[in-house]
Symmetry: C2
């Protein structure tokens, strides 16, 4: 094993970091198994004895055993008692988060971890088949198993006093957040979003993305996606872009961050949106200090909400801006040739900002997207508390789509089978997407203040100042701060829905010719404070 370079630290801390790095290396191997299963693995290998499901299960079990070893527990305790060490606030944060991870992990028996991985791997395969064939009933028993295992997991974590089972799961993805808090943010947001969306739907403005339905080949779209993510700053020497059924980003190890996307929709914007989204995750992963701290909390993402703030920022605040298209349209024209020749920046900007209630979350526009999330949040919360049975899932899903988005869902493939998450037990994960949108909009207000010429730079294809800002203010810290604290430090305020609503109103009202657009615009509604703590910028 390569040794950590931090020889200036006491042996108990160095040894702890070495052990955690070794466990993280094995974890990265597990990530490769997952990535491979979604990209290149031949189907026959999944379920056979000794095949991929067993492999995932064994590797998860080994990682879990290592992370919960008595030696690690003892070393953490020794570090916690080492006042010299705790004098360094970064190291103190590192140890605080190591403790959190250790306590969470030791609550789960190895057998449950292995079972979640093995059943999850099989269930994911069953989901893929069921989705392709529109057969919810084939997936139903798997979802029931995964919910059962996930409930067991929540019970091991322990339900907080006065809380619910869901909280124990949510806390894994968004430390410190509760279902009630999420509900408290979502309920009024739903009202404001629904109001905006209904105005847009009722408007007579003709905003369309027809001009981007150019029948582009997958190869050309793939090449264009590479053009864009390279320009944004995703390092292709330390990462890749591949094709899957359900786009994801896997930051699987130091120097190895993998994005996936999918093609096949009429508009070239669909795949580009996915690609930029995953590249946003990927640049966060690449910005974490894994070269020096791999395996330690200091090289980990804070929370999924913060992770999503990065992906949604690049996808939406950048990718749906006029400035971006001033640069990207000529690049696209080089790739797609005559098919795009007559399209101008105004048309492209409008096309990127069509608002239209639709069935598929990952293809949704910025305004309706959060309504998709609210539906999933309500459903998974009810599934996990057993207030909703799996049998009733499709019916409930379809009823909520009618209520929230005014849509009649035509099939489960376009309905409750569309997302991979539940198939491998990701419950409590969905709300983080909307939290990410909220964080992104709030960060953006500060970014616009700190980089006054950002639009001009982006219009020239220069995204370096933005990435540098994110690296300095967010990425480099790893888990040094919790999400709420980071938000306060970076923007001077606690998380609020105002920046997101102001941004959406400010952009969409003019595009749709609605009253009150510019006046309610983002910058007017939310005045960024000067940062209270210069230290956060260190």
């Amino acid at each position: 094993m390569a040794k950590s370079a931090s020889s200036k630290h006491p042996a108990h801390y160095t040894r702890l970091c070495d052990l955690l790095r070794e466990a993280a290396s094995i974890g990265a191997v597990g990530s490769l198994l997952g990535w491979d299963q979604e990209t290149y693995m031949p189907h026959a290998g999944a379920a056979m004895p000794g095949g991929r499901a067993d492999q995932s299960s064994i590797i998860s079990g080994i990682v879990h055993e290592r992370r919960t070893s008595k030696e690690i527990g003892d070393l953490i305790a020794r570090c916690e008692a080492d006042k010299n060490l705790l004098g360094d606030s970064r190291i103190a944060a590192n140890i605080r988060e190591m403790r959190r991870d250790y306590d969470l992990a030791t609550k789960l028996p190895t057998s449950l971890v292995s079972e979640l991985a093995r059943t999850g791997s099989l269930s994911q395969d069953a989901w893929k088949d069921a989705r392709a064939k529109n057969r919810f009933k084939d997936f139903k028993p798997w979802l029931e198993k995964m919910l059962d295992l996930t409930r067991q997991k929540a019970k091991c974590y322990g339900v907080p006093k006065g809380g619910e089972v869901y909280d124990a799961l949510l806390d894994e993805y968004e430390p410190g957040m509760t279902a009630r808090e999420v509900e408290g943010i979502f309920t009024p947001l739903r009202g404001r979003l629904a109001g905006l969306v209904s105005e847009i739907v009722a408007s007579k403005a003709k905003v369309s993305d027809k001009c981007t339905e150019i029948g582009a080949s997958q190869a050309d779209q793939h090449a264009f996606g590479h053009d864009v993510i390279k320009a944004l700053g995703f390092d292709l020497n330390a990462g890749r872009l591949d094709t899957t059924a359900h786009p994801f980003c896997s930051g699987m190890g130091p120097g190895d961050t993998r994005l996936t996307t999918r093609y096949g929709k009429p508009s070239i914007l669909e795949a580009l949106g996915s690609t930029m989204h995953e590249a946003g995750h990927g640049m966060y992963e690449q910005g974490l200090p894994k070269g020096t701290h791999f395996g330690q909390p200091l090289a980990d993402a804070i929370s999924l909400g913060i992770h999503e703030s990065q992906s949604r920022m690049w996808e939406n605040l950048v990718g749906r801006s006029r400035a971006f298209w001033q640069w990207a349209l000529p690049v696209a024209k080089k790739r797609f040739g005559a098919k795009l020749a007559k399209v101008n920046v105004d048309q492209m900007y409008a096309a990127a900002n069509v608002v239209q209630p639709s069935f598929i979350r990952v293809e949704a526009d910025e305004a309706t997207y959060n309504l998709h999330i609210m539906i999933r949040f309500a459903i998974e919360r009810a599934l996990i508390s057993e207030d909703l049975s799996v049998s009733d899932l499709p019916g409930t899903w379809n009823a909520m789509y009618k209520e929230y988005l005014g849509l009649k869902v035509p099939s489960d493939t376009l309905g409750c089978l569309q997302d991979v998450h539940w198939s491998f037990g990701l419950i409590g994960y969905f709300p983080t997407y909307t939290l990410g949108n909220l964080y992104a909009a709030q960060f953006w207000v500060q970014i616009s203040r700190d980089i006054p010429d950002l639009d001009k730079r982006m219009a020239k294809g220069d995204f370096a100042p933005l990435l540098a800002w994110l690296r300095k203010n967010i990425h480099q810290h790893g888990r040094r701060y919790r999400a709420a604290e980071l938000c306060q430090r970076v923007t001077g305020r606690p998380l609020s829905a105002d920046p997101l609503m102001a941004y959406l109103e400010g952009k969409l009202r003019p595009i749709y010719g609605l009253d009150g657009g510019a006046k309610a615009g983002a910058k007017a509604a939310f005045k960024p404070a000067r940062r209270a703590h210069a230290m956060a910028m260190a």
Copy 2:
């Protein structure tokens, strides 16, 4: 873990099989790490702390620990003492080979296994760079390290009495074979081959593959490769074909066998040859009974020589036959269109059988190929015994290419840097390629007798009888028989160089218009015996 279905067996045997399957699953994960590094892994991840080199090292260490556990040793001993169990000759063979594996593995300390994997991973990356840049001196320190580690490995295995260090390594790949025996086969073979090659070189026959240099795209060649391997019988639902610098086959788990090939040479035959070669390995892997015996010797390949007999058979005895091209040429014409329109079967057959001394082993024709192997065997034997220093490797390589093939090697990239093997410590491996050619030719004589209409079937694209023969006579047995015993059972004779020489003379003399062609032909020279033991066919 999924349990083995063999509940009729005593608990100690079942438990042993379960433990070995679990170790093999982790081994398959290690294979995925290797495959990924050669196909899709971003370069940056290789050497960082916690990156791929560490990952490979940790996984190898875990596999080694599991395979050498005291529990497995005790269980093998219990099985060896169970007379009922040994009454089943297949199980007896299984236990015999488990003992061999266990004894070999327990001779290696885990630290050495990990070090070989980690240094091998880094060294392979260094080789790749050095090869691309034609800088042998960048690779030299890595090769020295790997030779040193490999010598340590040989010493752990133990040098047989009266033998040499090399024997300990060769035995791992070709159980029971010694360097002196290899030399005993190679020395006279070299004389007969050199005679044939010099006659061909001196002949005035114009045999050329110019007609196959059609500037085909990589995508078309990839599609054609898929057409061919699918027809041969490689199961693409349980395998894949990808692109790499150095073609290989990885039978990485049940239902998951991966081939790689490379493109970019002028003739479409180059990539096809590699693809068919690897598919030959792949069909052997797919024919091993991994569904029921994964992790046990009964689901393992006998030796590399036998593995190569499969790959070289499909590559050469099938792929360079007139019958194959009667079927394959029309298929190729569909893929490559006008570029191949004027080529006929005679031209294609001749093109596939050009004999021409050349620099690169994997592109060599059937006659010169074995001379490449003899050079490598002599050099690696001298390197491992320290009769040759790494500094002198390029000079010795070039001198031997002059002597054996009459060629002046223009660069190390086309010389001693061309093969990946030594970079990760595969010493004692090269001779198995020529052993494979010998086995293939000898099996083929028997196959031609057992399937009299084979040529007619192949000319129609029907390779099923050939694959069925291989499945029945070779694949299904796993390691039940040692190579020499299998050869005797299947062909009625011990391994001999006569079938290979008869086959080469019988094919190449007519093509090159040399005297004595048909008369010295394969079938005349080697009369297959009736099989002595019908049991081998069970």
